[in-house]
Point group: C2
Chain length 396, copies 2
């Protein structure tokens, strides 16, 4: 049997993944590569109590197939939570609960665009978004960023260029707060400007906000969805960073006309999201544990972020430029030497440290001298030592 | 904002789904429509114990992102279970754990075919498969069935026709045992013949086996994957019918070269399946509960199947033809009058009973006089009364 495959799939090769998994479990190895929360941020005791309660009180529903868009009680709880933490309270009919917000990205690429269509992202952008949109056979046009996020003037140039090439983008995808991979946050002025431009060109905006609640310094910047003119923004959120990723729960907020399409594709993808996880999240919000856990996670991660920033200052002064994010999970390091971080990777692993090279986040093959460094998974000591090891390799 | 949508999505309309959900919760309504297990088949006590154990013993892993293809312990357990119940023991490298076997179908449509390609299914076939393959923009060519499953002679005719039209199918999708919607089981001779034909034309076979373990009468027929010449069959299984659907767990067994592609699309779709659900399934198998629960479910469902068959005999003698399946979840009723079951639906609902009309399962708009009747969800009394109500409507 000779299997013939489609041209749909791209992303990290299984061999690369196997290698990454192997690396992650090698004794002494420090991984700054993944995008995982620290296990100490999982409220296991509270979750266990909730799980038993859910089985005793909603067992038949929690073990059964749920509605395609989600379990009503979970949807209502998410709506209320967004009102408290993000400044907007969507109608429950505007919410779909997904198997992680990764699924939300894939759904978007399926319902808002046809294969071959173009969309706009930041450059660099989240590797999982590249994977989802590539899976949908979309073309990505990245807009340059600076430490204040997507450079909105360049967005307008890109739009004009694409329209002149008869490939008007189907949507604009942005991670405005503590962006993955850069850690940059778009300021309020740019958010306003972006909404105005998108409205002028009648192009939907997708705001992906997995990290927004994890702010360690500075003042909140409003979510675009909560801003004037942001009512039609499609908003993606997740429980992975404020509860646990293992329960695979994310959600998308969108106008009802979009929701109808999500409903159809969700049936095709996996019928419905895990009912049990949804009941757990419902109780997690209802009991208010999510709000205390967000504060706890901020306390945990602030220290780790400080360790990362201190280590970068100590090891890369004059040799690199790096982001010092006010929140989120990642710092972005660019080497002044212009060295190829992908080529350096094997050496790094031999020296007991792993990172993700910048190119993985690029829509156009650039970002070769950059790398993404995670500061939520490892301990403070591991982060300090990991960055030191990378510094040593770069010096050689 | 005027959203522009892709042409990817089809399936049940949200309004139809909302209506179905409403119907399901209307007091006095008997739903023979869905494909849900009976809640009395959920081993809630054992599952609660397992959940607490998982949190105490594997909590950090169960709450974290897992490997793309699945948690090793779950994969190994699935392999061992298949050896015990299905007659083949795949290498763990040949298994991916999915968010339900629906996701396995979607993945197949993405990696084995490009948009516009043709695949072969049974006619009628599972509505979720139609939804998944439509989502992938595939064309479905259905092969007629009789009570012994897909008519394999017609399969060969269809293959020849498609090849002459320069649209050789990318794979053959079959639910050989207690098929959804018909309840028919393909006999061993036809399975052999199907494998020979597929091998001769070098076309992959996909064997979907969600119901195989639920046999109430007669002798097991070998899974195609376990037969000589079936080594390359892509096999889909699920925990939805032998544990619970709410935990969303299915799996696909395929040669490693296919697995590499699944790995890529799975990253795009939702990164990885729920880690917690996988650990629960691992313990569920390890403790042997799955095997006792299968026997328990057979005991529960055999009675319901008998009630369905008895009611059909009592109410449709001379008025219809129906399947009397030896297992699974569904009977298939075809009205001799040729009446359109979709047109009858409103009347049925007014009379307190719901079913799914045959057309929903058709690849070509036929099956208009048929309906699918589920016998696992309702009680024996509800099944008896539900079929009686349908009989009354048909008479009028």
């Amino acid at each position: 049997m000779a299997f013939k495959f489609s041209d749909a799939v791209s992303g990290m090769k299984p061999s690369e993944i196997r290698e990454m998994n192997k690396i992650a479990t090698t004794p002494g190895m420090i991984s700054l590569g993944g995008g995982m929360p620290g296990p100490e941020s999982f409220p296991k005791k509270e979750l266990t109590e909730i799980m038993v309660y859910v089985m005793e009180n909603y067992g038949d529903m929690a073990m059964q197939y749920g509605n395609t868009l989600g379990i009503s009680s979970a949807i209502n709880a998410i709506s209320g939570m967004l009102g408290k933490t993000e400044g907007f309270t969507p109608d429950p009919t505007q919410i779909i609960v997904n198997s992680g917000s990764q699924q939300g990205l894939y759904e978007l690429g399926t319902v808002l665009a046809n294969p071959g269509d173009t969309i706009i992202t930041e450059e660099p952008t989240y590797v999982g978004a590249i994977s989802a949109f590539s899976g949908n056979r979309l073309r990505m046009e990245g807009v340059e960023m600076d430490s204040n996020g997507m450079i909105v003037e360049k967005l307008e140039q890109t739009l004009k260029k694409l329209i002149s090439e008869h490939r008007a983008p189907r949507f604009i995808y942005t991670i405005p707060t503590f962006q993955n991979p850069t850690g940059y946050t778009m300021n309020e002025e740019r958010r306003k400007h972006l909404l105005e431009i998108a409205s002028g060109y009648d192009i939907p905006v997708v705001e992906d906000n997995p990290y927004g609640k994890l702010r360690y310094y500075g003042n909140d910047v409003k979510t675009m969805r909560s801003m004037k003119g942001g009512e039609n923004v499609i908003y993606l959120g997740t429980f992975s960073k404020v509860m646990t990723p293992g329960l695979r729960l994310g959600y998308t907020v969108a106008p009802e006309e979009v929701m109808e399409k999500f409903n159809l594709i969700k049936q095709a993808l996996d019928l419905a999201t895990n009912s049990f996880s949804q009941f757990v999240a419902y109780e997690y919000i209802r009991r208010g544990i999510i709000y205390t856990q967000i504060e706890e996670n901020k306390r945990i991660y602030r220290k780790k972020r400080d360790a990362m920033v201190t280590a970068l200052r100590e090891n890369f002064e004059g040799k690199g430029e790096w982001s010092e994010p006010e929140g989120g999970m990642f710092s972005w390091l660019t080497l002044k030497s212009g060295a190829d971080t992908r080529a350096m990777k094997d050496k790094a692993i031999k020296n007991g440290v792993a990172y993700v090279s910048g190119q993985a986040f690029s829509t156009n093959g650039s970002q070769k001298s950059s790398m993404r460094l995670n500061f939520t998974f490892g301990s403070v000591d591991q982060i300090t030592e990991g960055v030191r090891r990378i510094g040593k390799i770069v010096e050689e």
